[in-house]
């Protein structure tokens, strides 16, 4: 036991991480794709405060209020459960792509790269 990271142990770490990432991603897909249908549709805290006090009137329509995924529903899918579920799945995949790309880019350490 010299504490060195062998090729094998490194591979084990990577596999373990991949498993964890895959599990987290699947849980997220399930929450956004299935559970989201059961979310409360009441106004959130800020919206409720704005309604009660009265400044909700000052809200403008969203720039993309007519967008294909506006308000977490897919335009053209009539079934509410499917509509919010597909929107959620698209959001999870989109966030994974954007977030994954951003953090992978940030974590690149130029000083460690071989092409000097």
């Amino acid at each position: 036991m010299d504490g060195k990271i062998t090729k094998q142990s490194w591979r084990f770490v990577v596999d373990k991480n991949k498993k964890f990432l895959a599990a987290g991603f699947l849980v997220s897909l399930f929450l956004a794709g299935v559970v989201s249908f059961y979310a409360s549709s009441h106004p959130d805290g800020l919206e409720k405060v704005a309604e009660d006090i009265g400044f909700i009137e000052t809200a403008k329509d969203h720039t993309y209020a007519d967008g294909a995924l506006a308000d977490y529903g897919v335009k053209g899918i009539e079934n509410e459960r499917a509509s919010v579920g597909v929107a959620g799945v698209i959001g999870v995949i989109g966030t994974a792509i954007v977030g994954g790309a951003l953090f992978t880019f940030i974590a690149r350490k130029p000083k460690k790269s071989l092409n000097k």
């Binding site: 897909l29 409360s40 800020l46 400044f55 993309y64 977030g99 951003l102």
Partner: protein, 224 residues
């Protein structure tokens, strides 16, 4: 707490867009020195998970719902710099794809949720962690209390913005008490979800939890 366009005037929105941009720039720098090959994918997963859980509005009091912000959760899991970036990615996706949160108000919302909530949540986490005995349960409790307070802190951020540039004419003190009151209640939900998630990750992969790392080093068994 996604702010729609129109609540806050353009000048104030511009000021906070600038502040938010500065905070995100600082976070890019901070996250760069902190993240490595192993933690970067976890930061991405944190953004994904927060997006998903933010869709799950839970009932709070009559006719009102709330949802996770995830700022304290992200700060404990991947550190405050990466947390700001993860939250910002989520807010951008929501505003541009799902018409959730106004585009001109994006700086306001980013300031409140990606910066204030992250740093208040993280500061409270560190403080509570210091007071409590070492151990995983303390990490969970500290994360939950950080989460609880991060939500009214973000609500205070909105109240400040309202005071500076409301387009409405209602009194700031009315908005202050209403915002803080309801968001303390939403904060309880935030604390529960954060506590459950942190304890689940600690149980399965405590080596991935940023807020647990310094404990782990001290407990490391030196071999050879």
């Amino acid at each position: 707490m996604h702010i729609p366009d129109g609540f806050i005037d353009v000048q104030t929105s511009a000021i906070f867009a600038g502040l938010a941009a500065a905070g995100v720039a600082a976070s890019l720098k901070g996250a760069r020195s902190q993240l490595d090959e192993k933690s970067a994918p976890l930061a991405g997963l944190t953004a994904v998970f927060i997006f998903a859980v933010q869709m799950l509005n839970f009932p709070v009091v009559a006719g009102t719902s709330g949802h996770l912000i995830g700022a304290a959760l992200a700060a404990v899991l991947v550190g405050p710099w990466a947390a700001t970036l993860a939250l910002t990615v989520v807010l951008i996706m929501q505003a541009f794809l799902f018409a959730d949160g106004g585009l001109t108000a994006l700086g306001l919302s980013t300031f409140n949720m990606s910066i204030i909530a992250v740093w208040v949540g993280y500061a409270v986490f560190l403080l509570v962690k210091k007071i409590l005995p070492r151990g995983k349960p303390s990490i969970v409790i500290a994360a939950a209390i950080g989460a609880l307070l991060s939500v009214p802190a973000a609500a205070l951020g909105f109240t400040l913005q309202y005071a500076m540039g409301a387009t409405g004419t209602f009194s700031v003190s009315t908005v202050l008490s209403a915002m803080v009151g309801i968001h303390v209640l939403i904060g309880i939900g935030e604390a529960v979800i954060t506590g459950l998630t942190v304890s689940a990750v600690l149980a399965s992969r405590s080596d991935l939890v940023y807020g647990w790392k310094d404990n782990k080093t001290e407990l490391e068994i030196r071999r050879g």
